[in-house]
Amino acid sequence: MLSHLPILQVILPLVAAPSCMMIRRANLVWFFAMLVSTAALVVSVLLLQQVLDTGPISYRLGGWEAPWGIEYRIDLLNAWVLLVITGLGTAVLTAARVSVQREMDDLRQTVFYSLYLLCFAGLLGIVATGDVFNVFVFLEISSLATYALIALGRDRRSLWAAFQYLIMGTIGATFILIGIGFLYMMTGTLNMADLAQRLPEINSSNTVLAAFAFIVVGVCLKLALFPLHMWLPNAYAFAPSIVTAFLAATATKVALYLLVRFIVTVFGVDFSLTSLPLQSLFIGLGLMGVFVASVVAIYQVDIKRMLAYSSVAQVGYMVVGIGISSVVALQATLLHLFNHALMKGGLFLALAGLVYRLGSSRIDAFNGLGRTMPWTMGAIVVGGISLIGMPLTVGFVSKWYLITAAIESDMWFVALLVVLGSLIAAIYIWRLVEAGYFREAPVARAATVGEAPLSLLVPTWILIGANIYFGIDTRLPVEVTGAAAQYLLGGIQ
């Protein structure tokens, strides 16, 4: 049983997804989905433990030997990402029941859970597999499920947002497929470890360069790296609240994982960052993303959209970390991957509570929220503080590592700009504080609106609490990501 953990991680939600359709009763489906995702969480914890104890695990699907059959390879990097995704996916799902009930009719609820698990399975598959074609397959599974999930939003504009994402996502996926095709053409293998061995000999060929370009651009589209982020704000703003929380906490993280995996493991840092001018490109685009998206976020009226732009900015920080390409910088990226999942997961769940009570996430819905929904507003404030990066929250930890990495590589301006970026975040978070605590709620509302239901509040506060807990007791994330970064770049630095 234990030796089959890598495949269990993926197959559990994948098989469970269609089973949802047979249950039909909304509450039962939710319970079933909870069971499955909790099981996935347990599996990922066991996996991480196993990797920490004995090193990378290689699992041969169907017993076929590695280069011919599909290999699932779990090392510290994807064990860590698996844990982040299952943890966040489960936490968001816990909150889903009431919110989904409010935002969808009965039939759609069943579809929702089914799609949720499908998307979950797809994301886990991308992370767990060691085979590049398998990556593409799972990418399509998760993407198609995501388009449908976004389209479930009750605003008709969600259809448009889903369509927009479908076009952009398909372009991205196609690019990745073309890249993979080129790689297969040149090397005759789809196994990542195998590719990593064979690519250095032929990496001067134009085909490999083209493959690299296609894959990086494709992944960056899914990652919503500035300026390929145009699909994200609409998708986040019009999707059902729970879907937004889920996507913000997991989907971009998986895309980031893919970027690291391709750049570092498959192509190797020597090729992708040192011999190509990608280093400065990533740092430049990342920082531009931070500034442009943060400034745009200030002017948003819909807070869901504001946080969506903030997500684009946070992706910028992570990509800067890849661009600096030292062990500490990569560690900062991996830390921020986890930390940002905690922040945005918590924040979007809090917004789900707001939408549940008020049916709106616009800034004027925040007026007087400190009185009418003190716990929800409190969660938003703490999450916001973490987003700014104040000490004793997780946001501080990853920014600290990023700044340290920039200085160690003598990139003073990068460090300075990272700090400045945080200040812009402080501005848009302050808008929420201002509305929540210093403006009056409309008289008609004050009497009727209460606190969000407990089943939403508790998961929200678990995530928000994690923001503080891991900001104080930093051992687990710092040690694991440190070891992972060391493992990935071990040969170079």
Binding site: P391, L392, I403, I407, V419, V433, F438, G471
Partner: protein
């Protein structure tokens, strides 16, 4: 009990007190005795640290290491001990005063009030004993956040508007400047621990250090250097005990204390003297002193006038620290104590006048001295302490500050200090003098049915104690002086 335990207790007692206050909220008398007992215990443990530190022992305590090199850690050093002594001692007196004031004024949500008060004191202890800038910053922000409910206690629109300015400026400056300065310090020096003589190596470019110093001076918004002083008058919407302890002692003194500590233990006096920005910041502090004093003269509202007077007096302390001479630092540290006693008394008096006579404007106080002689007498003594003339302790701090300007050869600043002392005579002394020697307002004399009497006895006792303190500090400044000498 070992010295480390005492240090641990100093931070934990107020926190436990807050929990205790929350639990006993239903029974007023029990709740207040929790506050008083905690205050006494806290003061006792801080006092017991005094001989240990004077003996030159090192008292250190580490809570946890958040990231390598970034720890929540505490170490007692003489200046911090001085600050802790003042804050904890005056907490007891203020609690006493608050009991009389809050009940006399019939305030709502008293449990919340006393609980947040206790947490604020815990934050102050954290600031006083912080071993490094990281710990200090954390407690600095906690202090801002947990004084916010105290400032907006009344819950009115006006209170919230005041609270908005309060939070906005204090959080804004701390995130935009202070945190940036701390990170830059870490990157330049590789440590955030306070060290005698400073942390920067000799070859750090002076331009960079200048920028850093500017960031610190503006970043510590609690020191209320103009143009970031507006939160202090805005915070005057708070109940008077809050204005008294927090905005005359704990919060503002935390600000100038941080500046003092940064000047002394992060830059070091040698380095500080060589930085070009120091000169400009000295002039800025001077301008802050003078302008705030002029604004204070024009304030009709008593508490507002006192607030601007605080801004002006805080300028003295910053100026003393930036002079970077031993007399300057001595005067600066002494003024933390003297101004604390003087200003807290003044606020106590303002509160007593509000509770007993329901008056808030300076013009309404004529002739009040005959009916509230103790209050107005205390007001007179405290005014002298702020101005800095005998028979009060304020004499000493002004003396050393003037000495400091001479040592640094800043004759212009010396003249400025003289002028602003004259101004402070102008905005403070007329109040008690008119209260004693002018005739009462016609509206008051006609209406004899509501006889104005002194405030409730706990409040009166409290302001008596602090006014006496002002006088005693003239006679026994030695305890403070020894502590400061050990600190430099």
């Amino acid at each position: 009990m070992s010295a480390v335990d005492l240090l641990q207790l100093s931070v934990l007692i107020p926190l436990l007190a807050a929990a205790g206050i929350g639990l006993t909220g239903k029974h007023q008398n029990l709740r207040e005795s929790v506050s008083l007992i905690a205050g006494t215990l806290l003061f006792a443990s801080v006092c017991n640290l005094y001989p240990v530190i004077m003996a030159g022992q090192v008292v250190e305590l580490m809570w946890l290491e958040v990231l390598p090199g970034l720890a929540l850690a505490f170490r007692v050093e003489p200046l911090g001990l001085l600050f802790a002594l003042v804050a904890s001692g005056l907490w007891i007196v203020t609690t006493l005063y608050a009991i009389g004031y809050m009940r006399g004024h019939g305030e709502q949500n008293q449990t919340r009030f006393f609980a947040f008060f206790a947490i604020s004191i815990a934050a102050v202890m954290g600031i006083a004993f912080a071993e490094n800038l990281f710990t200090l910053f954390v407690f600095y922000e906690i202090l801002t956040l947990c004084t916010y409910p105290l400032v907006t206690h009344a819950g009115t629109d006006k209170a919230r508007e005041g609270g908005r300015v309060y939070l906005g400026i204090l959080l804004g400056t701390s995130v935009a400047f202070f945190l940036v300065a701390i990170i830059a310090t870490w990157l330049l020096a590789g440590t955030l621990s306070f060290q005698p003589g400073g942390v920067f190596s000799g070859d750090t470019p002076a331009g960079l250090l200048s920028l850093l110093l500017v960031l610190y001076v503006f970043g510590v918004g609690k020191a209320a250097i103009m143009p970031f002083h507006r939160w202090l008058p805005a915070a005057m919407v708070a109940p008077t005990p809050v204005s008294a302890l927090l905005h005359a002692v704990a919060v503002v003194k935390a600000g100038v204390f941080v500046l003092l500590k940064v000047c002394l233990l992060i830059f070091g006096l040698e380095t500080l003297r060589e930085i070009p920005a120091t000169q400009w910041l000295l002039y800025l502090a001077g301008a802050s002193i003078l302008l705030a004093a002029i604004v204070a003269m024009r304030q009709e509202n008593l508490k507002k006038r006192l607030a601007y007077s605080t801004v002006s007096q805080l300028g003295y302390i910053t100026l003393g620290a930036l002079l970077a001479t031993s007399a300057g630092i001595t005067g600066s540290a002494m003024h933390i104590v003297m101004h604390a006693f003087g200003k807290i008394t003044l606020f106590f008096c303002a509160g007593a006048i509000l509770v007993a006579a329901h008056k808030t404007e300076v013009g309404q106080l004529r002739g009040l001295g005959r009916r509230m002689p103790i209050t107005m007498g205390a007001f007179l003594v405290a005014s002298l302490c702020i101005i800095g003339i005998p028979p009060t302790g304020g004499t000493w701090s002004k003396w050393y500050l003037l000495l400091g300007t001479l040592e640094a050869g800043e004759l212009g600043l010396m003249a400025l200090l003289m002028v602003s002392s004259l101004l402070s005579i102008g905005y403070l002394l007329p109040i008690p003098l008119r209260a004693f020697f002018s005739d009462a307002l016609p509206a008051d004399t006609g209406d004899t049915s509501v006889a104005v009497r002194e405030a409730p006895w706990p409040s009166l006792l409290a302001l008596g104690i602090t006014a006496t303190g002002c006088v005693l500090l003239l006679i026994y400044p030695d305890i403070i002086y020894q502590l400061i000498k050990a600190g430099i």
